[in-house]
């Protein structure tokens, strides 16, 4: 599962109620409220599911170390399709229910999804399942039955009526059942007709027998293709005889059914309306004229079916061209046409990826071959980066593009608007996980700068530490110190107190940390320690010269204590520092050349310090002298 910016965690992948909730969050909730263009609605609907499915494929990969079983690929393909169907259902039910006006709007979306599933299904049959002659037709029949589904509503209408066989659409129903090869159901209908009008009972029975005896390949059937062909040939001749004998002359309906079952093109074309599209026509035609059709012969039938069905009245639409390309086993063309016709990259990216796993792209010897999968995935992933939270999916996709995935991710990830701290942290985590140090640095710098501009120095400091940006850490530390000088106190004490090893990032930062430590020690009355630390800050050159005056001033309360804190040695050191500072000689090794101004205040301060130091020196010498003495 994966969190998507606050959205519920997705842990399931099948079609179930949780998925419903997910889709509802993404799609309907947002879409009904705002005015967004259709293409994006679809994107939002499909994306979450796609992610889940993809993970599945890769897990398979790992397990079988490269050798993926066909059955598994088919299963993945079916998963993709179930996802598309789920989207369709969601769209139709939810939107239509909530708002009829919007429902119309989404019907076009549903039709696009339906087309996508249609294409995918065909690709699955031809390219992934690679059904041979025999089973091929059965798959195609299933395919058609799944997609031309007016039958069900028609069936409900007719059967639900009092006198089914007298229903207006009765014969339409029977015809379409025959067209779809659902001969058992057709027979049942005919028996109702036989019951209702005894005059035609006889011919209905004959027709029923014909339907029952049509040889068809069924799973578990042990006959060979040749045997099936032979049987089918016999059956076909029997049907032919009935036609010659005009057995069904008294019933034009039944005669027409017979012609259909004989694969008569003209008869089939008369049923254009019921067939509703050329690929239905194609499959029916194959069923009743060449049920053992070989895959390589498909394209011939496909092209002629399209031509016959359109009859020169209209020209093929993009969907038709895609299907035609599939029947011609021209995967390259399928992908190309889909890229043009469909409005988002999801379909081609995932289909191509799946086909690539089937090792189909290479075998077809595409010029683009190995690069096409990556090309499409890159395009798709790039698109995801536009979305406020789907960019996280985009990251995963880029991870699976071996050639250009990383660099594409590097370029895209820096451009994600960092509206919230939470988002920034997510982006950084992604970069850090992939050792994208440049991007981490760049992003942290942006955030640090923003923090400095908003005077949030603690935040700025932690960002620059995370960026390991010494220069910036120095800059922020300087600001802290300046603030201290102006206000006399530190902000963000927690952060500074807990710098830990990060303190070493820059000299200035180290100084900041140590200086604060000095203040802590003083607060805890650990005067000797505080004194040593203060002195070392100057002698070790960690403290910038510009700050020495402040440090020396900080020493004053220590010098004025009742007990002697600074030793004689230390006092001499302090004096030396003061002289260094007041003389106009820049100290060797120091880059800071800030000189003391001839200021009244400064002069007074210096005088005070000199006095204090002198007094302390005296006391220290006496104390050390007497201690040695005793």
């Amino acid at each position: 599962g994966k969190e998507l910016d606050g959205e519920p965690t997705v842990t399931v992948r099948a079609v179930n109620s949780r998925k419903n909730q997910m889709c509802f969050d993404w799609g309907p909730g947002r879409l009904l409220v705002s005015n967004e263009p259709p293409s994006n609605k679809k994107e939002m609907c499909s994306c979450p599911f796609i992610y889940i499915i993809r993970k599945d494929v890769d897990r398979i990969d790992e397990r079988l170390t490269g050798k993926i079983q066909k059955s598994q690929l088919v299963r993945v393909s079916k998963n993709y399709r179930s996802v598309i169907r789920a989207c369709m259902e969601e769209c139709t039910s939810v939107f239509a229910a909530k708002d009829p006006a919007n429902g119309r709007q989404f019907s076009s979306q549903v039709s696009i999804l339906s087309a996508m599933e249609l294409i995918w299904n065909l690709c699955e049959i031809l390219f992934i399942e690679v059904a041979p002659a025999g089973p091929l037709l059965l798959h195609l029949l299933d395919w058609v039955r799944l997609h031309v589904c007016e039958v069900d509503s028609l069936s409900a209408d007719v059967l639900g009526s009092e006198n089914p066989s007298k229903h207006d659409s009765f014969w339409n129903l029977v015809t379409i059942l025959v067209l779809q090869g659902r001969l058992d159901e057709a027979r049942q209908m005919l028996s109702k007709e036989a019951d209702a009008s005894p005059a035609s009972a006889g011919i209905c029975r004959i027709m029923g027998d014909l339907m029952r005896t049509m040889p068809i390949l069924s799973p578990g059937n042990t006959q060979t293709l040749t045997e099936l062909e032979l049987k089918w040939q016999h059956w076909h001749e029997e049907c032919e005889r009935y036609l010659q004998d005009s057995t069904f002359a008294t019933s034009p309906h039944l005669e027409s059914l017979l012609k259909i079952m004989l694969g008569d093109e003209a008869a089939l074309l008369e049923q254009k309306e019921l067939l509703s599209n050329w690929y239905h026509f194609l499959v029916t035609r194959l069923l009743y004229s060449n049920p053992t059709v070989k895959p390589i012969d498909l394209h011939y039938y496909a092209q002629s079916s399209l031509d016959l069905f359109l009859g020169g009245e209209s020209s093929p639409e993009p969907l038709d061209n895609i299907l035609l390309a599939a029947f011609e086993f021209d995967i390259h063309q399928v992908i190309k046409e889909c890229s043009i016709a469909l409005s988002n990259w999801w379909f081609v990216a995932h289909l191509t990826d799946l086909l690539d796993h089937c090792k189909l792209l290479q075998s077809h010897n595409l010029y683009f071959g190995s690069n096409m999968r990556e090309f499409l995935l890159l395009e798709y992933a790039s698109g995801l980066f536009a979305h406020p939270s789907l960019w996280q999916l985009g990251v995963d996709y880029f991870d699976y593009c071996p050639e250009l995935g990383r660099v594409s991710l590097e370029l895209h990830i820096e451009r994600i608007p960092l509206n919230t701290e939470q988002k920034a942290l997510k982006v950084l985590r992604v970069c850090e996980q992939r050792q994208m140090t440049e991007q981490v640095r760049s992003i942290c710098k942006i955030l640090a700068m923003k923090a400095v501009r908003n005077n949030r120095l603690g935040s700025a400091l932690s960002w620059s530490i995370r960026a390991k940006d010494a220069a910036f850490a120095t800059l922020v530390s300087d600001r802290f110190l300046r603030d201290y000088c102006e206000r006399g106190c530190f902000s963000d004490l927690d952060l500074i107190d807990n710098l830990g090893p990060a303190m070493m990032l820059s000299d200035r930062l180290t100084f900041l940390g140590k200086y604060r430590e000095f203040h802590r020690m003083y607060g805890e009355k650990r005067f000797a320690d505080a004194a040593s630390l203060l002195l070392s800050l100057m002698t070790s050159r960690i403290a910038p010269r510009s700050f020495w005056m402040t440090l020396l001033t900080d020493a004053l309360p220590l010098l004025e204590q009742k007990q002697v804190i600074f030793s004689a040695e230390q006092t001499y050191e302090l004096m030396r520092c003061l002289e260094d500072l007041t003389s106009r000689r820049p100290v060797h090794g120091e880059s800071d050349t800030e000189q003391l101004q001839d200021d009244d205040i400064e002069t007074t301060k210096v005088e005070m310090l000199r006095l204090s130091l002198a007094r302390n020196l005296a006391r220290a010498i006496i104390r050390e002298g007497s201690l040695e003495g005793s």
Binding site: P38, S111, N371, D507
Partner: protein, 368 residues
Amino acid sequence: MREAVLTWCVPLELLCSHPLPLSAFLKTQVKLYTCRACAGKDEMGKMVSVINTVDTSHEDMIHDAQMDYYGTRLATCSSDRSVKIFDVRNGGQILIADLRGHEGPVWQVAWAHPMYGNILASCSYDRKVIIWREENGTWEKSHEHAGHDSSVNSVCWAPHDYGLILACGSSDGAISLLTYTGEGQWEVKKINNAHTIGCNAVSWAPAVVPGSLIDQPSGQKPNYIKRFASGGCDNLIKLWKEEEDGQWKEEQKLEAHSDWVRDVAWAPSIGLPTSTIASCSQDGRVFIWTCDDASSNTWSPKLLHKFNDVVWHVSWSITANILAVSGGDNKVTLWKESVDGQWVCISDVNKGQGSVSASVTEGQQNEQ
């Protein structure tokens, strides 16, 4: 006259889920196009271009429109002497700022990297370059550079790794480089006579650290070799390199155009050892220049296409895989390099109608 100019946009939220939206502008409107694939088809085969039109209310022709780093803001500049900034999140268009300060048509605008804050540079016929900055929610003029004797035609910010540096190309033939040194101060370096007659375009090379990429000791900056390209009225493209002493030297002359070079664009780096530059010219030609090795200095041009009219602008997408070209014939075309090295036109965005002329793989099809 420049009618259709273009720029690559970081994808706008909800406009196009694909990183190809680009803006082209005619008169006073900025049209944001989506790529061919996302042109909002509502039914299979039926194409409806989704175009977001930003009505800028400029009173005269728009010369440039640039999206900021994150694609949330749009800056436009016009012959009406103003620079406008719009908030274009969520498909909206809210005017944030109307910046006045130029005394002539403003030719180009350029956004600096966000790490420096919200900074915009503009250059104009009035010979000035103005740097605008957003401080506490309001936009103000931050700096004015008046070091040129003639119209300043192009401004381009250097990669953020180098600091805040702006290159400006002018009709006086010079290129000036402004470097921000802190506390509101800008240091100026000028390359005089970079191009005889005038310089029309400048474009920086992506930052590449020579040698190892191990972290430098604290406080020190890595030694970048700074480079940029310029195009001029001498029909030449010149490559400039910063020497160790801080002076800029002409490193290369790229000759192929037979008329004024109107635009140059150095492609973003995608980690390959090749460098790529696109150039376009008054002569209607667009060339793609490639240099295979960082050290060898041989650049080879390849003709992308010869158009029938002047080509005004070339612009690379973020990942440098697609080049957008706009011409005087008011057309914007998108080009992609196929595996065999041929450049193929993948779309034709003509006056707001998205149409497909060929897919990226058609190049191969024709080959086979």
